[in-house]
């Protein structure tokens, strides 16, 4: 299988308030089309690792490859362009822009990318919302939706640019079991049928068990 994401001996320290070695010699590799979950006790460094994998955190030692390209040492603007095209994000909180319609929220990353015309982007965004069962909510303000619906809009937004990887930090953390199941099915479908890679931090035992691979962390190390 094709390797999509790889780290080599990634180490990270926090200096404030005390010197703290939060990630120790992290070397992992994730293949195309995999649905991987990242688990471990609270505070073991899952989120910290995910932010490094996502290229948002540049303050680490070691190497990070995305799509076989070295990310370490790239400039902030270069990384922004790479994230825009290749990575989708889903967080525990939806982070939708409240004043915009669901449709517009989904369109934003594609408008930034600028590869398609606004009309094409709108059609595509609508298509994504439809697959996620939100066709009738498209023109509503994002703030008017339920938590489960908002999280699905956030997923649609993460998908709009057909990213190589979708990263989730406890994407189902705020959802009930029914909505959690829906999100899992979406992820599984994306990985297995669309060939996209999913890396999700989760505390949900069931969610992790159903994934293709579990990466477990303890005290900043992979076990």
């Amino acid at each position: 299988m094709k390797s999509i994401l790889k780290t080599q001996l990634v180490n990270k320290f926090f200096h404030d308030p005390n010197e703290f070695h939060v990630l120790k010699d992290i070397s992992i590799e994730v293949d195309k089309g995999e649905l991987v979950t990242l688990v471990g006790k609270s505070g073991c460094g899952k989120s910290t690792l995910l932010y490094i994998l996502s290229t948002m955190d540049r303050d680490y030692k070691g190497d990070l490859y995305l799509d076989n390209e070295l990310m370490t040492h790239k400039s902030i603007d270069e990384l922004a362009a790479i994230r825009n095209e290749k990575i989708g994000f889903v967080f525990q909180f939806h982070y939708l822009l409240q004043e915009f319609s669901c449709l517009k929220n989904v369109m934003i990353p594609a408008l930034r990318l600028g590869k398609l015309s606004p009309q094409e982007i709108e059609a595509k965004a609508y298509e994504r919302l439809k697959t996620l069962g939100l066709a009738d909510q498209a023109l509503k303000n994002a703030s008017k939706l339920s938590g489960g619906q908002q999280q699905r809009v956030a997923i649609a937004r993460a998908l709009i640019n057909d990213p190589l990887i979708i990263m989730g930090d406890e994407p189902t953390g705020n959802l009930d079991s029914k909505n959690t199941a829906i999100v899992f099915e979406i992820f599984k479908d994306l990985a297995h049928n669309a060939g996209q890679t999913i890396i999700a931090v989760t505390h949900d035992e069931d969610f992790a068990q159903k994934s293709d691979r579990i990466i477990e962390m303890k005290d900043g190390m992979i076990i």
Binding site: I76, D77, A80, L97, P109, R112
Partner: protein
């Protein structure tokens, strides 16, 4: 529409009230700025126009010389000297040639000789002291525009009437004189002569109207018991009055006589104007700056409120400069609306006030439309809004999304 602009627009409409308040601030600041600057300009013009009713741009005359000590020895410690004004005559030698020389200067528009004599106006028992100015009527009119201030009679009659006199309206009322009456003048040299009033002027400058009169150059020379070559002053007008100092220096160089600019002659008035302009510019600029703080405040608030949006936008690939654009666009939109409103308000204010009669020496409210003041206001308004937007925008651009997502 660009996505950055689109987001900026949505934020503006989401915070309509705040935007309106900030825009209102700019509008008022802008209007006050333009209004005050147009007012200062008009006040300047009206005060200089008062000056130019009585002063040429440059006055060329012979400066008094002080006597020099007889011994030029610095080692002599106890030399007693008592410098005095040399009792030389204060006339300009060969005035025609001096006039020719001055006329060669490219900036000069009018050159005319003048003889000032202090006189008493006598009419029956009443006596008023004043100044009779001996002029060449046509040239003097070109210089002071006396014709436009005539309320009775005619300034030009002076040319054809060697015994004619044009007096200030104050003299005419005090002495009960109308055009056609006779008026007796006594000069400081003791010469007595009767003139015929051919015109009365009202300059709206009290001191002039109460004491000044114009007579022919030859009559003034006779009052001084002097001949046709006796000229005390040569007055000069130039293209741009603001250059009077520089042109005066040039004239002084080539003629050897003192050439005093109107600014030097009216030092206290000129400094007063300068003070007023400094204070006015400062106050109006500060008001505009305060309007800028309004925008700054509201944008800072928006940045804090939208910090989650900024974080997710940056995560999704918006660069720092995209974020800067989003917020600067908001500031500029508010600023441009405010500036347009301010220009309109200032226009209305000025057009209304222009037609308000305040009376006195001033007449109509002194304010005028001046394109360059408008442009300067617009320029400063936009610059200030830009920076009022830029600083919060830069703060937004520096938001570290990881820090926000950890919360």
């Amino acid at each position: 529409m660009n996505i950055n602009t689109d987001i900026a627009k949505t934020y503006i409409f989401a915070g309509k009230k705040q935007t309106a308040v900030a825009g209102m601030g700019v509008l008022l600041g802008m209007a006050i700025y333009i209004f005050m600057n147009c007012l200062m300009l008009a006040l300047d013009r009206s005060s200089t126009s008062v000056i130019f009713k009585n002063n040429a741009h440059i006055r060329v005359y012979k400066e008094d010389k002080m006597s020099k000590p007889l011994v030029n020895d610095s080692t002599a410690k106890y030399l007693i000297i008592n410098p005095k004004v040399l009792p030389k005559s204060n006339t300009i030698i060969n005035p025609n040639q001096v006039t020719e020389t001055i006329l060669k200067n490219k900036n000069v528009t009018v050159v005319t000789p003048q003889v000032n004599s202090s006189v008493f106006y006598n009419n029956g028992k009443s006596q008023i002291s004043g100044i009779a100015v001996g002029v060449k009527p046509a040239e003097a009119n070109a210089m002071y525009n006396i014709n436009s201030t005539i309320v009775s009679g005619d300034f030009k009659s002076l040319t054809s009437n060697p015994n004619g006199i044009v007096i200030g309206v104050g003299i005419s009322t005090k002495m009960n004189l109308v055009v056609g009456n006779n008026l007796n003048l006594t000069s400081a040299k003791g010469v007595n002569r009767t003139f015929k009033v051919v015109g009365i002027f009202r300059s709206n400058v009290r001191t002039l109207d109460d004491s000044k009169s114009y007579i022919n150059l030859a009559s003034a020379q006779q009052l001084q018991k002097e001949g046709a070559l006796y000229i005390t002053d040569i007055t000069v007008n130039i293209k741009n009055p603001d250059d009077a100092k520089a042109v005066g220096d040039e004239i002084s160089q080539v003629t050897g006589y003192k050439a005093e600019s109107w600014q030097e002659a009216n030092n206290s008035m000129v400094t007063g104007n300068k003070m007023r302009n400094i204070v006015g510019s400062l106050v109006s600029s500060l008001i505009l700056l305060v309007a800028g703080f309004g925008i700054y405040n509201i944008l800072n608030m928006t940045v804090s409120q939208k910090i989650n949006d900024i974080a997710i936008l940056k995560a999704m690939g918006f660069r720092g400069k995209d974020v800067v654009r989003i917020f600067v666009t908001q500031a500029l939109a508010v600023g441009i609306l405010g500036v347009i409103g301010g220009v309109l308000l200032a226009t209305v204010l000025i057009s209304v006030l222009q037609h308000v009669y305040v009376g006195g020496d001033i007449g109509y409210f002194p304010i005028e439309f001046d394109g360059s003041r408008f442009l300067r206001g617009i320029f400063f308004g936009l610059i200030i809004t830009f920076f009022a937007g830029y600083f919060p925008a830069r703060k937004a651009a520096k938001v570290d999304p990881v820090e926000i997502f950890r919360k």
